[in-house]
Amino acid sequence: MFTKHIYSGRFVFRVKATEYLINEKFEINARYYVSLTALRVAKSSKFPAGIKVKYVLIDAEGEFARLLVDNHQPFGFHIHTQLPEDHSIREVLHGVDYNEALQIFLKEVERIVGL
């Protein structure tokens, strides 16, 4: 983790900067693309491991997320399967790590897109 200095006009703030571990975008076809991000963030109650993950499948035609996996507390790794209709419906992925969550996401993408 590195620190960044932000000058606000009167004060200089030292903040813990985030760092991308993964930041990949992949255009599957004219309609869908996937965006995978894993950020190193300050450890907090929301991200106790200090890693913030977001794997998302975007429907470019309607410009909405079709599938989303993220890892914030109190759920840990979870998948939103009813997007875009209902963001509040999430399926918790018990006992998985970053890579297992990624594999679940990629498999679900293949099912939705028909790869």
Binding site: L21, I22, N29, A30, N99
Partner: protein, 136 residues
């Protein structure tokens, strides 16, 4: 003075992409799509996406900087809804950005994602390019 920045379109199969990101996670290595690069799954998918009409839109945005999508639709002489749909797709795939202005954010200004004037398409065996400069 015309700009010489380039946007590169590269290709990688879905299987190769999966392999790359999985390896990056397992080995905890950094893996980032290079800036000014769009990665498509195949040449066929890119060609299906980048129609002649979308290229014309990019040329107009690059050279004339339309104040709105409405104005752009008039310049390219196409239906507003279709131009809007193409702009949304171009923005989603990283070729342009759309900024909203006005009190109700009703006016949408299309701009290139950055100030590139050439798209280089790096096919697995051949490289070709789309020059966005208007013909003299």
């Amino acid at each position: 003075m015309k700009k010489n920045k380039v946007l590169t379109v590269k290709f990688q199969s879905w299987e190769d992409f999966k392999g790359k990101v999985t390896k990056a996670f397992k080995e905890q290595k950094k893996s980032v799509t290079p800036s000014a690069t769009v990665v498509f799954s195949s040449v066929t998918e890119f060609q299906k996406f980048m129609t002649e009409q979308k290229l014309v839109i990019l040329i107009f945005i690059a050279n004339r900087k339309p104040p709105s999508i409405y104005q752009l639709a008039q310049w390219v002489d196409r239906d507003l809804a279709n131009v809007q749909r193409d702009c949304v797709a171009l923005a989603a795939h990283g070729f342009i950005k759309i900024t909203e202005t006005g009190n109700n954010k009703k006016s949408k200004i299309p701009r290139l994602a950055f100030d590139y004037m050439k798209i280089i398409v790096q096919m697995p065996s051949v490289i070709y390019s789309h020059d966005l400069h208007e013909a003299a």
